[in-house]
Symmetry: C2
Subunit: 277 residues, 2 copies
């Protein structure tokens, strides 16, 4: 692991790092915010998964979560959204290939050699963060849009790895959306039954969740037809999952939505990972 | 004035607008955050002046001030840092011409026809904001780097226009710095005495300030030699100006510095413009 930059932020340290990923077969860049409390001992980790077109940087610079993580004593990890590089397959569309990993392990060409974001986040980067930073093996996961999809699906699929999960305007039902069908088909092949293990609404109905879930969605989101919040809201209700699903009047899909409700999400995870918030 | 975008943020509205500026002789873009309190009546205005290379957008997306403005009930105006356009003079250097207006009225060619940022901020844009938004004629001004220079110099030069002033890592003594001598020479000509009306350290010693001043500076700022905080700290002490000058250990010049201390600045202005904070 190599340090690209480290600067002081809210009494802690905002760092950007790179490492050679075996799983993705390329160098991967990620960001970690370490709160001031980490000086006194290891802290729990909140994973923030980003959306289409994003790198590790967008939420790091525009999400404003560090202030709240410093208040609570949580580390935040911001992974990239896909493998990167000239040797890595790509597509001209913004929503397939680089910047659009969808947090799955591709089985199909030309994606399979590099697009292994599910294993990258849940295994390789997790192990790296646990070994290189003063963090506890206690994890929450959240994310925005495609990253909200990632947060929900990875938590539901790997409940032993995550103690808490929330999402901001997630792609909630990708197997029924143009944000999902194209990508899951490309990465996983045409057998749609394999897609359901990567669809939060399907997973919830199939497996349930061990604890509670917080979801925020902007009511003026320009991508409501693609996000399909009604599928997730329905699944949460149908499965009687302890949950808070908030339809936020007037908010769109931007980082202003993320930063507005970011504090609620950070404190919600802190309550579940640390208690007392 | 034309609306480019308006989105909900922290219960208020983050807008971006454009208008034909007579003073600058070009279209100018600016951002305004209106807090939720503006629904109940006009609110005071905090002007945030940005630094070299920035547009209206950088602090709007990375500064995180909206959260605090929504807490206090302040509007925030984010002007651009210079005139823009193919017809507007420019320079290959990042620190002269477009993106580097230095908040002065240029008297020299080729800059004079457009580079009138002093009048633009204190007169034209001020009048536009007062007429188009639900704001009171009560103003604070802050800014970062070149914008900290702008905040201090415009407040000191026009004390009747601003009730409060603060700065984040300002260019504090431009007439003695490579961030200043080149630009003031280009925009105002070679007579260095004319530069002193645009140098916070000189202005403070010459005119003083009617009230108190808050300044934050990162101790690990990579531009300390150019910013010359010691000149301003010395001038504040020498003139016995009621002031708080904080040298913040470990912080650099980035927006993480701005967002970390942004809350203190917004609340500091709110205390002086509204009271009770």
């Amino acid at each position: 692991m190599e340090t690209i930059s480290e600067v002081r932020a809210f009494g802690g340290t905002q760092g950007v790092y790179t490492h050679a990923s075996e799983v993705c077969g390329c160098d991967m860049t990620f960001a970690v915010y370490m709160p001031p409390q980490a000086k006194d001992g290891p802290v729990p980790v909140l994973w923030y998964l980003s959306g289409l077109t994003c790198t590790h940087e967008n939420a790091m610079t525009k999400g404003g979560l560090q202030e709240h993580a410093a208040e609570c004593g949580l580390a935040i990890v911001y992974p990239d959204t896909s493998p990167r590089g000239d040797d890595v397959a790509n597509d001209e569309a913004y929503d397939l290939g680089q910047g659009a990993g969808f947090y799955v392990n591709a089985t199909e060409g030309p994606w399979a050699p590099h697009f292994q974001m599910e294993s990258y986040v849940t295994d390789e980067l997790r192990a790296l963060v646990l070994s290189e930073f003063a963090v506890l093996d206690q994890h929450g996961v959240t994310g925005h849009s495609m990253g909200g999809h990632g947060a929900l699906t990875l938590a539901l699929k790997y409940p032993d790895l995550f103690q808490s999960v929330s999402a901001l305007s997630p792609i909630a039902n990708p197997s029924a959306s143009d944000w999902g069908r194209k990508q899951l088909g490309a990465y996983l092949g045409g057998d749609e039954t394999s897609w359901q293990a990567h669809d939060a609404s399907c997973l919830l109905k199939k497996k349930g969740w061990k604890s509670d879930i917080l979801v925020d969605q902007g009511a003026s989101d320009q991508f409501l037809e693609l996000l399909k919040p009604e599928s997730l809201a329905g699944a949460l209700a149908e499965t009687r999952t302890p949950s808070t699903f908030r339809m936020q009047t007037g908010y769109d899909h931007s980082y202003f939505f993320v930063s507005t409700f970011g504090r609620d999400h950070v404190l919600w995870h802190a309550e579940r990972l640390i208690g007392g918030w």
